[in-house]
């Protein structure tokens, strides 16, 4: 009883899908809807209005006329007003498209006799993605982002073949102590999950989440651990096995050797697994500097969506 009381005072938590012009936005909405449906959580589709510096007037006259400050403030704010009205309208178009997809999603769910989304809204906010996430973090249950993020227009991808990671994604994940789903392909309903498991709080959190989630009763889970210390690895895997069995999840385990990200990706390809769940950025700054971050490497090379937990 006391628990439900305290839940009321907490802010409402949303599955938060951040979209922009990028080609992945539809997929972001779809995956977010899938998550929201599975967890029975409300869904918010968010479009952030970034304010890049734009120059319509080039004035290098370099002089100061009387009341320059007032004049400049006025003309700059008028310029911004016009630009922001355009940006807002553009964002509204993107959000209207998302709204349509969600309405379809609802209809299909009803036709199939499934529970649809409990609630879905679309919103716009001014500011960069990181600023927005800082402001909203208490209202986020799971964040859903496209791989080539909200900045794909401003950061020219030099190497198109490798995954281009939106410049803000890593910052967003590190900033937000919330699960983040990174979407990098068109939506297809996940049937199997790879749980990249190790002895870190993030990984244990991922295991807990899988055990608790109703969704995972319908999915096949592969708990995978990569280590060169097989003895210790065996113990870890055993832990995971016990928890998953108790929770009644269909699963299999694997103990792999070698470099973490290559071993994981090879395994994922072999078994054709649809989604990776893992703890993210667990190691300290020094460790990451020396050995590189497994999370960053997975982000760079994986072909499948990643659910990262901190």
């Amino acid at each position: 009883m006391t628990h439900s009381h305290s839940a009321q005072t907490e802010p409402k938590k949303w599955i938060m899908a951040c979209i922009d012009d990028s080609s992945l936005s539809n997929a972001v909405v779809d995956y977010a809807a899938w998550l929201a449906q599975a967890f029975g959580q409300p869904l918010e589709v968010l479009h952030t209005l970034e304010h890049p510096i734009q120059h319509n007037s080039h004035n290098h006259s370099g002089n100061l006329t009387p009341n320059q400050q007032e004049w400049l403030t006025k003309s700059l704010s008028e310029e911004d007003q016009v630009l922001n009205k355009q940006r807002i309208q553009h964002g509204k178009d993107i959000l209207a498209n998302a709204q349509l997809r969600l309405t379809d999603f609802q209809q299909q769910a009803t036709q199939q006799g499934l529970n649809g989304l409990v609630e879905y809204v679309t919103k716009q906010r001014h500011g960069t993605l990181t600023d927005t996430l800082t402001d909203l973090q208490d209202n986020i249950k799971v964040l859903v982002l496209g791989m080539n993020g909200t900045q794909s227009q401003t950061i020219k991808d030099a190497n198109k073949s490798a995954n281009t990671i939106g410049s803000q994604i890593e910052a967003a994940i590190k900033l937000l102590h919330k699960p983040v789903l990174i979407v990098n392909q068109m939506f297809s309903t996940p049937n199997s999950i790879m749980l990249a498991f190790n002895d870190t709080p993030g990984a244990h959190l991922a295991l807990e989440m899988i055990c608790a989630s109703p969704l995972c009763k319908t999915l096949k889970v592969h708990a995978v651990h990569v280590t060169d210390n097989l003895q210790k690895g065996q113990i870890l895997i055993e832990q995971a096995r016990q928890k998953l069995t108790t929770a009644g999840v269909t699963f299999q385990t694997a103990l792999l050797q070698g470099q973490a990200h290559t071993a994981l990706l090879d395994y994922q390809q072999q078994h054709n697994l649809d989604l990776t769940v893992m703890g993210a950025f667990n190691h300290g700054k020094l460790h990451t500097l020396l050995f590189g971050s497994v999370t960053a490497k997975m982000l760079q090379h994986t072909q499948k969506p990643l659910l990262l937990l901190r």
């Binding site: 304010h51 890049p52 510096i53 120059h55 080039h58 004035n59 290098h60 006259s61 370099g62 002089n63 100061l64 006329t65 009387p66 009341n67 320059q68 400050q69 007032e70 400049l72 403030t73 700059l76 704010s77 911004d80 960069t128 410049s167």
Partner: protein, 497 residues
């Protein structure tokens, strides 16, 4: 913290920042020389300072796109130090000012800027403009008519050249002024004072050197008053300029970091043979106008300034002072808030008095800190006297019980206690007096003391006195509890209105 910055801060606006930085650098050269002359040092001191401060603040500053360099505001404070003790003491004072500014940053003194009202800020800018103009007067007195003609021509070019189609928006008009006037003077062989006559120009890159002063307490006592003044004035102008830019570009800045950054920049300047400086409102506006927004614009301004100065110092020497004076008059006109003159008719009188006091005290003392402090104190006094109006005591008499009820409403504090006492009629003979204070706010001990006095006096006249609602009223004694961010408490306190 001090060094953190995003990619966007530096590379979000490369083209705009570099072009704007060059425009600013061109205008910084004459200013740095002019401010060196104000302080009474060689032009190279101001030029090295402007380079060092701009480059360092680009990295450690809290407001991207703001231009800091040698300034008039700080130069004005150094005159007697340089005259009495020489350059090395000035360098030491600059370093110490920087240390004090870093300290101010750590002590969160930037929050004090909220005491500076708009009137004080306008007064500050107007005073600064007047001081910059006055500093040009020595160049305009006891000179031949050539100087007046050249200055007038220079001003005409500065204001009219931007109207030239295409070129006017590409080539900075202060640069055109300098080139045209220099060419004219050289070609026609006019004998007027040039920058070369004012002292040594830089011919090498700046080098790190510890100021050559005895490291004694005596030295500290000599430089400390100057360092304190420089630190205060530097932070004042920097924080005000940051506010102006925040508003102008609709972006935020980190004021605490700006304080510490100004400190680091001044230490760097002092160690590179430069004088202390701060943010420059005029140059920062020019930067924004030219399209500069990021840290790169400030960095470019500093680097380009140094390149120009070191490699063309021979050419700098032949620039006539008249060209410099014209540029500085432009800066003065641009800094002055001309609307404030028109607003005198519409603004409330206290606002005008605060603004004018700030200007008069500053111009009189040549110290912007004194002007600002007088303005702030005056504004606070006006505020207190206006708050006194928000207090009254209502009187109701009940025949049956012979009871006089005084209901106190509003703000009771040191400035309104006399008025409070006057509401009570001690001569009237009644059986009982009830003082209802639940809608009053007793702000300080003066107010509590005044209430005590009233009660005592009434009792002395043979009246039974009862105070009701004292708990609510005395809760407003700010020293006893903190209201910080508790809406229900604020609500309760304001309930009296």
């Amino acid at each position: 913290m001090l060094f953190s910055s995003t990619r966007q801060d530096w590379l979000g606006n490369v083209r705009g920042d570099i072009l704007a930085g060059i425009v600013v650098a061109l205008a910084l050269v004459p200013e740095a020389i002019a401010f060196s002359i104000i302080a009474g040092v060689d032009p190279k001191v101001g030029l090295y300072a402007s380079f060092a401060i701009a480059v360092i603040i680009a990295i450690v500053g809290g407001r991207a796109g703001m231009i800091s360099a040698a300034t008039a505001a700080t130069a004005l404070l150094m005159i007697t130090l340089v005259k009495d003790h020489g350059l090395e003491y000035l360098l030491a004072a600059s370093v110490l000012a920087g240390v004090l500014q870093i300290l101010a940053g750590y002590l969160n003194l930037h929050t004090l800027i909220s005491f500076i009202s708009r009137s004080v800020m306008v007064g500050f800018l107007n005073a600064l403009a007047i001081l910059i103009f006055m500093a040009q007067l020595p160049e305009l007195t006891n000179v031949t008519w050539h100087v007046y003609a050249l200055t007038a021509l220079g001003l005409a070019i500065i204001y009219l050249f931007p109207y030239v189609p295409k070129l006017g928006k590409i080539i900075p008009s202060p640069l055109v002024t300098i080139v045209v006037l220099t060419a004219l003077v050289v070609y026609m062989g006019i004998d007027v004072r040039t920058i070369g006559d004012m002292g040594e120009l830089p011919d090498t890159l700046p080098i790190f050197l510890w100021p050559d002063v005895p490291m004694t307490l005596e030295t500290l006592w000599i430089i400390l008053p100057y360092s304190v003044a420089i630190a205060i004035v530097g932070l004042l102008e920097s924080l005000m300029t940051a506010q102006v830019l925040d508003e102008m570009t609709d972006t935020d800045s980190d004021k605490k970091r700006e304080c510490k950054g100004q400190g680091v920049a001044n230490i760097g300047s002092g160690l590179m043979g430069g004088m202390a400086g701060c943010a420059m409102i005029g140059q920062s506006i020019i930067n924004v106008k030219s399209g500069g927004r990021g840290r790169l614009s400030t960095m470019t301004a500093g680097v380009v300034l140094l390149i120009m100065v070191v490699f063309v110092s021979d050419w700098l020497a032949i620039i006539p002072m008249a060209a410099l004076v014209a540029v500085m008059i432009m800066v003065s006109i641009g800094t002055f808030n001309w609307n404030s003159i028109v607003e005198i008719r519409t603004n409330p009188l206290p606002a005008t008095i605060v603004m004018l006091t700030t200007v008069i005290v500053t111009v009189g003392t040549h110290n912007l800190a004194f002007g600002v402090i007088s303005g702030v104190v005056l504004a606070a006094l006006f505020m207190a006297s206006r708050l006194r109006e928000f207090m009254l005591v209502e009187k109701t008499f009940d025949e049956a019980t012979q009871t006089q009820t005084y209901t106190v409403i509003g703000q009771v504090f040191f400035n309104s206690t006399e008025k409070f006492t006057q509401y009570f009629d001690f001569k009237e003979v009644v059986d009982k007096v009830v003082i209802d204070v639940h809608r009053a706010h007793f702000w300080d001990i003066s107010a509590v003391y005044a209430l005590d006095k009233v009660v005592l006096k009434l009792r002395r006249e043979g009246v039974d006195v009862e105070i009701i609602g004292l708990n609510q009223a005395s809760e407003t004694l700010m020293d006893k509890f903190a209201v910080h961010d508790k809406p229900e408490k604020i609500e309760k306190m304001m309930g009296g209105h």
